[in-house]
Amino acid sequence: MWQYIVRRIFISVMILFGISILLYILIRSMPGDYITMMTTGKNNVTPAMVEHLRHLYGLDTNIPQGYFNWISRAIQGDFGVSFFYQRPVADIIGEKVLVSFTLALPVFILTILIGVPLGIISATRPYSKLDYAITTIAFVGISVPSFFLAVVLKRVFAYGLKWFPPFGMVTATEDYTGFALFMDKSWHLVLPIVCLTFIGIGSYMRYARSNMLEVLDTDYIRTARAKGLPEGTVIYSHAFRNTLIPIVTIIGGSIPGLFAGAMITENLFQIPGIGWYGYQSLTNGDIPFVMAFNLFVAALTLLGNLLADISYALVDPRIRLK
């Protein structure tokens, strides 16, 4: 097991190297770098000044050279200073990840608590009206783009009914502390949480439903019934334990994603999380931040895959990692 994990981590590091190379090439190839954006339209800027700025920001190099400069410092843990925010990138990420996490955690818990039971209910009454209703809702959730849903939610519940604030994380005009601050934050986060949860439950619901249907068709479920077990025990003990196997792996795999932020939703609700900062830096050509942010997300994804495999071994007695 430990040998397996160490080997996987080693492979993950190799993959991250590859990703960083591709990322750097892509970012440097984007039209309009940070300096161009800063200086365009400003008549008093001479070409010499632009050259000087380029040199200061390390953009006067060619791509391989630039990458080499970046990676040699990144290996030592120095991800540089953000062009746009003028602060060390690592500090910003460390700070903003927590903001994203406060939004992502309730979403994560709610999607599982709603999605999985809905899928189970659906599977135990396949092709009934209830099943069709749940499936329809799930598919609407999967299909509807987050920006559209966010705007509709804002229009109805923030501007129309005025139940919830349309954006932000705290009421700017107040200076709450302690429990009052917590309540104020919660109130602000209701709409984004609803938005992300609705989008997320669909996949869990479909996963739970199809797995449950498959399991209910197996020989061992027939055995369980032949023993004379009540239907409740058959479904919620025998079938559910087996349905959980693939679901637990998805859950395990998505835990690191809790720190990756939700780029679009955070933007629309103006929640200063890592997703919002990532978006800003991307539009600004903020190379150090974009590199660090994307590698961070990539590392989380790889970690998620590793966790998924490990959790598989934990819930399924047949699987032993080697």
């Binding site: 068709d217 197996t218 020989d219 061992y220 027939r222 055995t223 369980a224 019934r225 032949a226 023993k227 004379g228 077990l229 009540p230 239907e231 025990t233 025998h238 334990r241 087996n242 196997i245 819930v315 399924d316 007695p317 047949r318």
Partner: protein
């Protein structure tokens, strides 16, 4: 709905079939869901008090998207107390569905028992009941306790995520909730020892994937015998096992059957197994019984051309043949069965009458019955 209405321009009208299916399924499902059926609705009388089970014109249909499959179409036979009865026939002839109907384990909602009855003589209280009319809650108390089943796939019939001890103990606990955990465990170990598993204590802590196929089938048998059932339904118990293990498992079954004085309903397509085990044989073809009798009747004086063909296709040691005999043709499409003898197309002994309606029963002796138009007087 008539068959004509289900075809439009010569094509299957799938929508009409689906609609008709939904209506039918709903009818049977609501009947099963009834919680407070009064006992008078399912109590009945046995035709012969020596019988444990009487199948009487059982009909189990599957309402599929391309039409109704009459998997079991009017099957009648008896299982006398303390005897072994074998149901034989090729794949898809309805023998498994017959046994699943008995356990009321037919895969719903498509599969439904639509007619006939399965009378069962209960040991406790002595009341005879019709299993097809029993509400779900009542059949549950009979499953595993009075009628137990061994399935054909030991590799997949045990839940992969629970330990053997839990799966066996659960079967005991559900019917005998008054037993303590220690008592259940003791019984579990004793059962495993009874079916010839050495190191029974250790096996209770194993997961199914850690056991071999033969071991798993022994566990399944232990599970079936856990509560001394009156009837053990063994659905091809040795099909998935290699020959040496097959013999062991059959010996075990026979031995244990005598020990707890149970009846066995053995479902198989292996005529070798039948000869070894069975007192009575029921031969099924395309959802119907075509011949039944004692083992001697069937082996020494087979009457139906299909039975003769089946027996002819067994290899015999010492006889050299170029090619083993096989019955020509295939089983007819189960959806649009003609009202003639189902075996007619494949039969080598057809007579003129075979073009007529489905043949009536011919009683060759007290025990031997056959459904065929052949002239049996000349034999």
């Amino acid at each position: 709905m008539s068959e004509q209405a289900k075809t439009k321009n010569g094509k299957l009208d799938l929508r009409a079939i689906a609609k008709a299916n939904r209506a039918e399924i709903k009818k049977y499902e609501t009947a099963k869901k009834k919680h407070h059926a009064s006992p008078s609705e399912y109590q009945t009388k046995m035709r012969d008090s020596n019988n444990l089970i009487e199948f009487d014109n059982l009909q189990t249909y599957f309402f599929t998207d391309i039409g109704t499959v009459k998997a079991v179409n009017g099957v009648s036979f008896d299982i006398p107390r303390g005897s072994t009865i074998a149901v034989v026939g090729e794949s898809g002839c309805g023998k498994s569905v017959t046994s699943l109907s008995l356990m009321r384990l037919v895969q719903g909602p498509q599969g439904q028992i639509v007619g006939g009855s399965i009378r069962y003589q209960q040991s406790s209280g002595g009341q005879a009941i019709d299993l097809t009319k029993l509400p779900d809650e009542e059949i549950r108390k009979i499953r595993g306790k009075e009628i137990a089943m061994i399935f054909q796939e030991p590799m997949t019939s045990l839940n992969p995520v629970f330990r053997i001890g839990k799966q066996l103990g659960e079967a005991i606990h559900i019917h005998l909730p008054e037993l303590s955990k220690e008592e259940v465990h003791k019984r579990t170990v004793a059962l495993l020892e009874m079916v010839g598993i050495a190191r029974a204590e250790g096996i209770t802590k194993s997961y199914p994937h850690e056991l071999s196929g033969g071991m798993r089938q022994r566990v399944m048998i232990a599970m079936a015998l856990a509560l001394d059932p009156q009837l053990i339904v063994a659905d091809e118990p040795t099909t998935a096992l290699d020959v040496t293990i097959q013999a062991q498992i059959l010996d075990l079954l026979r031995e244990l059957k005598d020990k707890i004085n149970a009846s066995i309903m053995l479902i198989t397509h292996d005529l070798g197994v039948v000869a070894e085990m069975a007192d009575y044989v029921v031969v099924m073809y395309a959802g119907r019984v075509i011949e039944q009798g004692t083992a001697e009747d069937i082996y020494d004086r087979p009457a139906h051309p299909y039975t003769i063909g089946l027996l002819g296709s067994i290899p015999v040691i010492g006889r050299k043949v170029e090619e083993l005999y096989s019955i020509p043709g295939n089983v007819p499409n189960p959806i649009h069965m003609p009202d003639t003898c189902y075996f007619k197309e494949r039969c080598e002994r057809c007579v003129a009458a075979c073009d007529g309606n489905y043949p009536d029963v011919v009683e060759l002796s007290d025990t031997h019955k056959v459904w065929c138009y052949r002239d049996f007087s000349k034999r």
